[in-house]
């Protein structure tokens, strides 16, 4: 998965910022990645749906929550701001850890710190959070 992110240059923040720059110099290239990945995932998912357990015997864990609440929407909005500031989201950042230098390490360390902080404070009230 990381290989495909790198091969398609999704790890280059300028490509991602270009994709988000709809009102400026829009570069739709990342849309091809999204369309391709959603399409191929849906095809494989058709094989998963009728199954009781995964091929290797484990239970199939799919998020059961369908709650669209303020916490989820607010979280997504905050994530989008962070994404739009630098053009980095978790997948490409992780794929860049080995070669992205101190910039990526700073981003990933901050992301880790935030996840440690948010955990005990906010999740106690959450009903059932699917990951």
């Amino acid at each position: 998965m990381a290989t495909s992110l790198v091969a398609a240059h999704v790890t280059d923040p300028r490509m991602v910022l270009g994709f988000l720059d709809v009102f400026g110099q829009w570069n739709p290239a990342i849309a091809y990645f999204m369309v391709g990945s959603i399409a191929s995932f849906s095809v494989v998912y058709r094989l998963v749906r009728p199954r009781e357990v995964a091929v290797l015997g484990d239970e199939i864990c799919v998020p059961s929550s369908s709650a669209i609440d303020a916490r989820m929407v607010g979280g997504a909005a905050v994530f989008g701001v962070g994404w739009g500031l630098t053009g980095l989201c978790p997948g490409p950042a992780i794929a860049s850890i080995a070669t992205g230098g101190v910039s990526i390490l700073a981003f990933v360390a901050a992301m880790a710190a935030a996840m440690l902080i948010v955990q005990p404070t906010f999740t106690r009230r959450a009903a059932r959070s699917a990951t």
Binding site: V44, P90, S103, A112, M115
Partner: protein, 142 residues
Amino acid sequence: MTEPSSLTILLGGLAFGTAAGFLLLLNGRIAGFSGIFRGVILYGGRDDTWKAFFLAGAIAAGGVASRVFPGAVPGHYDASLGLLVVAGLLVGIGTRLGNGCTSGHGVCGIGRLSKRSFVATLVFVGSGIVTVAAANAFGGTQ
């Protein structure tokens, strides 16, 4: 920046979605990078061993791939360290509260036709677009 062809990007997307699909088909797990990363950071849960292997594999594969595809991982990032830290904090908080990121909601969630993931994806793409537009208007990040 040497940008890959649209076909290369489409093929990359197809490979990514296929790999995510096989994680679900073979192991029964959703390939959401933020959830996997969080599992490893807060290590201790029942599912965290495979997450650690997944994360290690992603880091190693990304390292090898960035040598095979030069220019894909930039040698220099335009954003300052301070901005990267702020963005990392927002991404960590946001994906935690929103239960997912571009891979879990954007690819797997939409691929499963989850209404919740549709909404999450619309919201984070929307706020990302607004952020970039605002940064451009105020002469900000790039």
